[in-house]
Symmetry: C2
Subunit: 114 residues, 2 copies
């Protein structure tokens, strides 16, 4: 098949970015997360990287950002219906990887032994 | 859902790596490519990055590497059945992105205007 071109290639890079993959998966069940929840749960060391990832996903219309007017104020993130559509594909891929991980591990052992 | 953990998380990173995504997509129709074909077609500037990507995918059992004993010798790459399984998910995601690209572009325009 032909390789995806711009702007599709850019969207693909956002969805499959290191942290994009994890954020979309974490929110894929329709749940809501605070920034600090995501950072802890996904073990994202860099606050800046998570901020950039969330901003990119929000700009693409995948993530909804809501500032809660409480004291102290905090920000909550959920997937939009569009984001859910993208996340579903990552979840399917994650399930496939889980099911095929033993076969991949065997291939890695054969490769390392050769 | 729970976030994928090691070694699944590592495999996910290989499959969704910047160049991994493109290599798996390019080979997903069962075709064979030489190293130079892939590099040109995917517009991969760095020879080293493509070498590393192909080596990682070969080690995972996704890509089959064959040295053709011709003069001058060259190397051909194809997907294994396991690699085809992973690639199918990326192709499905690429189709989804293609279909939803207009909606993403609209979201980006709204975001940039706000």
């Amino acid at each position: 098949m032909q390789v995806t071109t711009c702007p599709e290639r850019a969207i693909m890079e956002h969805v499959t970015s290191r942290w994009g993959v994890l954020v979309l998966q974490a929110l894929s069940d329709g749940s809501t997360r605070r920034f600090s929840d995501l950072r802890r749960e996904l073990e994202i060391v860099s606050e800046k990287m998570l901020t950039q990832t969330l901003r990119t996903l929000e700009r693409d219309g995948f993530v909804h950002r809501e500032v809660k007017p409480v004291i102290p104020p905090h920000v909550e993130y959920t997937l939009t219906p569009l984001g859910k559509g993208a996340a579903n594909h990552l979840v399917a891929l994650a399930h496939w990887i889980e099911a095929n991980q033993p076969e991949v591990s065997q291939a890695q052992q054969r490769y390392d032994a050769s």
